[in-house]
């Protein structure tokens, strides 16, 4: 576990550190190979599954998307309270091994299918039980709050993990600016719904049967916890689409699916909101979804994880999974009256 001690009140970076012109990425919007084309191979044999078809298709020379999304450099301050001694997962693994079913269910699909995703213009609204609803446009995502870099462990519910340097701001600072009303108990999040850009939202087979738009939620106490982070970048640059561009949540003590991507709406509520994986399979994915090595997924063990680091195929390590993914110092208190076997 990290030895970092948290000091209350994350230091704000001075606004003058932020150059205006560095925040607009030179995105290239061009026609790319369409999924339909890839799936068109299906006519050759209904028994060949989509990703194998896509795989075969790729072998005919189109594996790397032609126009890789252009990320731009961000200005930020490193937050020394949230750093890790563990080695980082290399950037090309962070950006090429993703669960983002809006772009397909296999791990390489989001990288292959999301490169022409349009992040600009964007609109993120904070509404519901707040004093002052907020609307952030694309530029505001990078300018309204001072950006800081934090390195977090990310533990997927599928028992693999990464170590990622995120750039963003704390969720609490956003919620404080909106002014959460005292009657509020929960915060709900919603991903963009745009089937034209997100093929998984168009086709059930590609989208894994999730009911879109993807929704997630936290309790107010969780949302206000200093760990809860709104990321707009990784590895010092704006987020690539497959990692949840332009803005996503990162809650590192919970399984990855809680860290919802490409958010368009945050709603403060007085009841627990529905959450996508919980709706799909309530006995497998709870609302809380805290990383917990003692509570197994009904179909696999959560006691250890394959840590994805540097190097080739055989370089991975299997490491024991830590309670709350090692962030117990920050969050264990939130759950002291909760039976985590029941509220998994």
């Amino acid at each position: 576990m990290s030895k970092n001690t948290f000091t209350k009140g994350v230091k704000r970076q001075k606004l003058w550190d932020l150059p205006d012109n560095e925040v607009t990425p030179e995105t290239v919007f061009k026609e790319r190979r369409s999924i339909v084309k890839a799936l068109g191979l299906g006519a050759l044999g209904a028994s060949i599954p989509g990703y194998v078809q896509a795989g075969l298709f790729d072998l005919f020379g189109e594996e790397t998307p032609k126009n890789v999304f252009q990320s731009s450099e961000l200005a930020f301050q490193r937050n020394s309270n949230f750093q890790l001694s563990q080695a980082l997962t290399p950037e090309d693994k962070v950006t090429r091994h993703n669960n983002f079913y809006e772009f397909g269910t296999s791990k390489q699909d989001p990288f292959e299918n999301a490169q022409s995703f349009q992040t600009e213009p964007w609109s993120l609204t904070i509404e519901g039980l707040v004093d002052k609803p907020i609307k952030l446009d694309y530029d505001a995502l990078y300018k309204r709050f001072a950006l800081e870099e934090r390195t977090y462990r990310l533990r997927c519910v599928e028992a693999w993990s990464m170590v990622i340097p995120w750039v963003g701001f704390s969720l609490a600072s956003l919620l404080k600016e909106a002014g959460v009303k005292s009657s509020a108990t929960h915060v709900a999040f919603e991903t963009l719904f745009d089937p034209d850009q997100m093929p998984g939202q168009k086709s059930r087979l590609m989208g894994g049967g999730i009911h879109y738009p993807y929704v997630e939620g936290l309790t107010i106490a969780e949302a206000m916890n200093p760990l809860s982070f709104m990321a707009v970048g990784l590895y010092g640059k704006t987020l690539p689409p497959q990692n949840g561009a332009p803005i996503r949540l990162v809650v590192p003590w919970k399984y990855g699916f809680k860290s919802i991507k490409s958010i368009v709406k945050i709603r403060v509520m007085d009841k627990q909101p529905p959450t996508s994986w919980n709706q799909l399979a309530p006995h497998e994915y709870g609302f809380y979804a805290n990383v917990n090595p003692q509570v197994d997924h009904p179909r696999w063990s959560q006691a250890s994880e394959r840590s994805i680091g540097e190097g080739g195929l055989f370089s991975a390590k299997r490491i024991p999974t830590e309670m709350f993914n090692g962030y117990g110092d920050y969050v264990a208190d939130l759950y002291k009256n909760l039976d985590l076997r029941k509220f998994y």
Binding site: S47, K93, H97, T105, S106, R299, S301, A316, K317
Partner: protein
Amino acid sequence: MRLTPRGVWWFKVLMHLMFLTPIAFLAAKVLTDNAGGDPVQYIIHYTGMGALNALVVTLVISPLAKRLKLGFLMQTRRMIGLYVFVYASLHIFAFVSLDLLFAWGFLLEEVVKRPYILVGALTYIILLLLAVTSFNRLKKKMGRSWQKLHNWVYLAALLAPIHFYWSVKSEIIEPSIYILICCGLLYLRKAKFLKQH
């Protein structure tokens, strides 16, 4: 339709190519770093699907040979059956080596605790028994019990798609289709099952 021995030989070569190329493709993709940022799950899925598809092909052969009077197809059945075993072995090897990183104790625990892994393991045991008894010499020695043993392939054909169905995190359309296909292939053999009673 009948084929000359030479024709059968060529057909077999074609079949070998059909089952070897996907393995070569996979190797090429992994070696050229084109199987995603972390290819482990990709490899497990690819080989699992390969095993299942090959299993479906072996079960299609005899109905096809009978109906279309393509006797020579029967001569490729053992070979394709062995490819089922090859793909399944790669699948399990990938799981044990790349995912579990040879934590054998963990594998045993998983087999006992996870129904979908248990079902996969049962399927693999059947495939293993069929593969090691597939040689002509043994077949002769075993006599009638050979056929009895090899009828277990029908159980494997039920268990493999169930293992698939159980392993997926969400979307069940594709595994359901496989279950239906396999049930259909068993249904074609209903006369055989009824006769045995």
